[in-house]
Symmetry: C2
DNA sequence: AAATAAGTCTACTTAATCAATAGACTATTA
DNA sequence: TAATAGTCTATTGATTAAGTAGACTTATTT
């Protein structure tokens, strides 16, 4: 299961994708429409900005907006940006890899099974983009 | 990512699968070989027993063992038994479903994408059994 | 140009859940 | 009855989620 933080990030990105090219969007607007605790959302959006996915404008008329077209960011990228591993276990994670304490990966049955599911998941998440998060 | 508890459960079940039919296996043996904190492992095995996957024997010569052939339990079943949802978000979970606060599932883009990944994952995890967790 | 309103940004605090540990208790076998 | 091994309860520590307070920045209005 994705963390709440990652789930909120995807929802917010979907909302911003729908408003792409229409100028800055208020945090409060996203929070209200997507039912995300506003202070939690602030930190998430800030992190996405620091990862060069979003840009922000301060002061009156400000807000957050996508830097690039929603089609240019895949769901796999978005999930990883906010710190969410996609694999079910660390020993098959591409971006958050950790070796198991107990096993030799060449012979580990669990490793093999989890590798397959990771590949199946990635195949989907690397094709879909933020544009697909737009409701309709 | 699966919780530590779920990961440990799968490793322990794999170990017991390899020893199926050979009588009770000590908690301490599993703990040592699979590098699982023994007290944490105790609670996990107990839970698996209460879910009718394992049986135990107390006293000297005691331990835990699989009730049925490893081939009869799928990885999907095993993961769910110890409380691990397989889906990435609650609104597409079969066994731990929760409705989103903000969206209409019929039109939600995120829901659609996550449904597809869940199906791809389940397709694999429902075919593989504990027997596939045996190293070799 | 000063005041004010409308925004984001930063730091800190609290609450909840997950992971790990400790120790007493019960059942079984030799 | 002594030793072994699972069972149960309680506590601690770590991480994640959420909430609070206030500083800082920009645009508008007068």
């Amino acid at each position: 299961m994705l963390s709440k933080k990652t789930q909120y990030a995807l929802k917010a990105l979907g909302y911003l994708a729908a408003k792409y090219g229409q100028g800055p969007v208020l945090i409060s607007e996203i929070s209200k429409n997507k039912k995300i605790p506003i202070k939690f959302l602030e930190t998430i959006l800030l992190e996405l900005k620091q990862n060069n996915v979003l840009e922000s404008k301060k002061g009156k008329g400000g807000g957050y907006y996508l830097i690039e077209s929603p089609k240019k960011t895949t769901l796999a990228q978005a999930i990883r940006l906010v710190g969410g591993p996609i694999a079910l276990v660390p020993c098959v994670s591409l971006n958050f890899y950790e070796k198991c304490a107990d096993c030799d990966e060449a012979t580990c049955g669990l490793n093999k099974a989890m590798l397959q599911t990771r590949d199946a998941t990635l195949k989907i998440l690397e094709k879909k983009t933020l544009a697909e998060l737009i409701d309709g």
